[in-house]
């Protein structure tokens, strides 16, 4: 298959997923025989049949939050975002994991599929009900959603992500030391580090975001830079940036605090709150960063973007931050993204601002107040959708009287993340067991729900013990 054919196929695959979403949306309002639904179905049939002419089967599969067609992950563009998210939710409601189109489709086949799809979620066992209604339909086959279990493979992935994360921190440490000593910086390695991050974000976003929630390291500066990169890439991914732009975003985020290398250690590592004079020094770091980047990096597009972000990341959208510019300019998109990631990571860490880390959900609340003034409201909307109402690392009390830490957000059911239980219902400390708050009992009631959140910092809880 030529590159062009492959691109076309990928585009067609995206269109097919979008069209299935359109069919479902339409059929939820009208009957499958209605003109609007019939027209959407007819279009879907012709689209799938085009693909079937090239491939013997078309297998649409939901894995995690992403759709795959014939094992290729379908990366969706912004225009399809809402329809893709909608379809992910609808699949999950029915515990539907895959739909396989085997032969040339007829309109009636898809009508039958649509009717089964629409009626199944009201059943106690939605997937079984769905499967039953599909009996006799030879051209379309459905499969149950696979439960994500901590198998050996996922443990390997965890290890790999941990390794990538620490490699990135180690690399950052090296770079910052180079900058401190005025050495020129070669960005080849930075690119490699970020490419790896981008791949992990695309495949295992939650695991990598989990790494950013651990704040128990001594070398805050390096971890903070990497965390801001990860959070920025994750947000960029939500915005639909290309892989190349995500890498660039990751790199500019990595260098956003370069100017801190010039802040004296006694100020930077001061265990108490800053004095006014110390704040004056701290507030110079965007300018120092800009200068360091322009001095130590070869001037190219990436250096320019890095310099801009370094200068602007504390300016605030309403220009109430620092440094104060004589001529007000609109902040760069990357600056606004990094600014969000920076504030969130800094607030949930123990080294800056009031020097007391905030609980992730509390940090989000404060950021919400700043949204529209200091922070870009549109990007914040995407950001909160990304980290979830209960971000990773949030300490939660469940209605089962179990205490746990959020380890993975749920993009569809935002109030139902995956939680690592650390104290059982009887008040005993337990070794980590992860539960999914979307799990239901036989009577279709959720088995666990969050009753309240607590501030892990108040109890000096180290997340490293649980998440590393």
């Amino acid at each position: 298959m030529s590159e062009k054919e492959e691109l076309d196929l990928h585009k067609n695959a995206k269109d097919v997923i979008n069209q299935i979403s359109v069919v479902v949306r339409t059929a939820q309002i009208h009957d499958a025989n209605n003109v609007a639904t019939a027209s959407a179905i007819s279009r879907l049939v012709s689209m799938i049949n085009i693909l079937l002419a090239q491939e013997s089967i078309i297998a649409l599969e939901l894995r995690g939050e992403f759709f795959y067609i014939n094992d290729y992950r379908i990366r969706y563009s912004l225009e399809y975002l809402l329809n893709f998210d909608f379809l992910v939710r609808e699949f999950k409601k029915r515990e539907l994991g895959s739909v396989i189109f085997k032969h040339q489709l007829k309109i009636d086949d898809v009508k039958a599929f649509t009717r089964a799809f629409i009626s199944s979620p009201f059943s106690d066992e939605p997937f079984i009900a769905f499967e039953e209604k599909m009996t006799g339909l030879l051209s379309i086959e459905v499969g149950r959603l696979k439960k994500i279990v901590e198998d050996e493979d996922s443990l390997d992935v965890r290890k790999m992500i941990k390794k990538s994360y620490f490699n990135a921190v180690s690399y950052t440490k090296g770079v910052i030391n180079k900058i401190k000593s005025g050495e020129k910086v070669n960005i080849k390695k930075a690119k490699r580090v970020m490419e790896s991050m981008v791949d992990h974000i695309l495949e295992e976003e939650q695991l990598l975001l989990g790494m950013t929630a651990i704040k128990d390291y001594d070398e805050y500066t390096y971890h903070h830079s990497v965390n801001v990169s990860i959070l920025s890439i994750a947000l960029g991914q939500r915005l639909g940036l290309s892989r190349k732009l995500l890498t660039e975003l990751g790199m500019v985020a990595l260098f956003h605090d370069t100017g801190k290398t010039e802040v004296p250690n006694e100020v930077l590592n001061k265990p108490a709150n800053f004095t006014d004079d110390e704040w004056k020094i701290i507030r110079k770091h965007p300018v120092w960063g800009l200068k360091a980047i322009l001095k130590l990096m070869k001037l190219d597009e990436l250096t320019i973007k890095s310099a801009i972000v370094s200068f602007e990341h504390h300016m605030n959208v309403d220009h109430t931050g620092y440094p104060k510019a004589r001529n007000k300019m609109e902040l760069d998109l990357f600056s606004r993204i990094v600014s969000l990631a920076d504030q969130y990571d800094a607030m949930t860490s123990s080294r800056v601002y009031s020097r007391t880390p905030m609980a992730p959900d509390k940090a989000l609340s404060i950021m919400m107040e700043r949204s529209g003034t200091q922070l870009d409201p549109l990007l914040f909307k995407f950001f909160i959708n990304m980290v979830g109402v209960y971000p990773i690392g949030t300490l939660v009390m469940l209605d089962t009287k179990e205490l746990g830490l959020v380890t993975e957000s749920n993009q569809i059911f935002s109030t139902r993340p995956r939680v690592l239980l650390i104290i059982d219902a009887k008040g005993n400390r337990i070794e980590g067991r992860i539960v999914d708050l979307t799990e239901k009992d036989a009577r279709d009631n959720y088995m666990r729900s969050i009753r309240k959140t607590l501030d892990p910092n108040k109890y000096k809880l180290s997340l490293a013990e649980y998440l590393l």
Binding site: S2, L78, E79, L81, F166, N167, A168, Y171, G174, I187, K188, K191, R192, E195, S196, I214, D216, Y217, D218, L239, R243, V287, K291, L294, K298, L299, D300, I308, F311, E312, A325, R326, N327, D332, L333, F334, L364, S365, M368, L378, F382, I384, N385, G388, V389, M397, L403, I422, I423, R429, R451, K452, T453, L454, K458, Y459, K460, S462, A464, E465
Partner: protein
Amino acid sequence: METSEEIKATKDVIQAILKSKKILRMYPSNNPIYIKTLEDAHGKFKEFFYYNDELQLKIKQNEIFYGAEQVYSSSEKEDNLALFFFKDGLREITFKKGLTNEEVESFFKVITLDFDTEVLDDDIVTLFWEKDFQNIQYVVDEAVLADEEDYESSAVVEAKEEANEPDNLMKAYEDAFKESEIEKEASIVPLSDRDLQALLKEFEKDSEGKTGKLVNIIFELMYLSETRQDFDDVSVFLMNVMQYSVIHGEIHILTDILSRLKVLNENKNIAEEIKKYLRKVMVYAGSEAVINQLSEFLDSGPDADEKTFDEFVKFLDKNAIPPFMKILGELKSIHARKIVIDALTYLGPKDLTLLSSGLNDSRWYVVRNIIYIMRKIADKRAVDFLLKTVKHGDIRVKKEVIRALGELGGTGVVVALRDALDDADDQVRVAALKALGNVGSEAAKRIIMERIRDKSFKEKEFGEKKDYFEVIAKWKDKEIFEFLSGVLKKKTFFRSAKNDENRACAAYSLGLVGNKDALQILNKYKNASSKQVREFTFSAIRRLEHE
């Protein structure tokens, strides 16, 4: 277990990779050898896929393995395929059955790059990553990225050092029952179509170039500057941005920088000490470093916008003259040369002496261009420099300088032009004659009249004679009228044909002078015995009657 056929097919693939790596870099992609090499290599992959769905190659420092079988080995430092992949961290490459010809070509495009000598910002892994292959997968050892060995272990140990106190945890648990429920303040707001539209607009805005933004920021940096070092840094940054902008053809960025600097430089409230740094940047804009880069840009792509370029040149100083003259001789495109000529025409008056140094250039075409520029500048002070070039060895230069002198006029010019009338080359002589006509002075008139009166004149070619009479007609005064009438009337017994040529030209010239009094004389000769005289007289009469 690998069969002997598989191993042979793998070795064939390796050989095809080695061969392609050498050959493909030597030919353009439409060359038949390039195409055939690529097809052959793809063919070897296809042969392998007959035995297995994927070809997984394990990369060691000096060897490549297929399964347990070593399929490549080299201990060389150069041209070692294993080491080539290994050094950037590649440890495994897998080619899958669906491998397309395009993927094979993309793969080779990466591995044929000269990573040792070319200044590349990316290594092989980054380039593979950017290709986003569907049927080529690879495993990379990321340890090469870390700065410290086993940083992970020490960081994890350190992070876990402060183990959670069981009491703290239990306290949290107890408090969870006591504390009132925390009301969630942050909530997820679903994204709407309007949000997506707004985001698309953001992307559109963000796709614009960033250099202008950086310039704004550097100027902000200047306003925030306090020490000499700060100002010096700013000046260096601006100079670097200038270089970058020229390379990328963003000439308007240079203009923007220079126009802002000009305003600041004219601001009386800014200290002279700071202005020194501003002027350093302004001068740099016209430096050899910038202008040389400009030369590459001008010659590299589509025609540059003349208006943008003119705007930029307006901010340059005379120091830009020598580098512009230097590139004038190097530029290949006519459009580019025109742009540089226009630039020098603008800059030349700032220092004519400096511009005139270009007249000593060893390349005739540069000298001719400089003369042309001086002619366009039309400053009489240029005459002294131009006069030195009249005896240049190249006729094309001589012609240009004579033309320039003719237009500029002034002391010394007439003498030089008179001398040039004796030049061995007829084109130079004609140019000098026309130049004298352009000078239009009495002295010039006298010279031409004397030449016509001279005995040797009638021996000249008819065409040259006609040029003389054409030029002298420019004066249109009484003296010339009488002079021409005299020539027309003049009769000789010897070599009358040559004399008739003079008479015919005089008749033609009287027509050009445009004095209707000439009709009376001309009518006398319309039936002259010389056919040439008759024809030219007739033509002159017609011209005068119809004017």
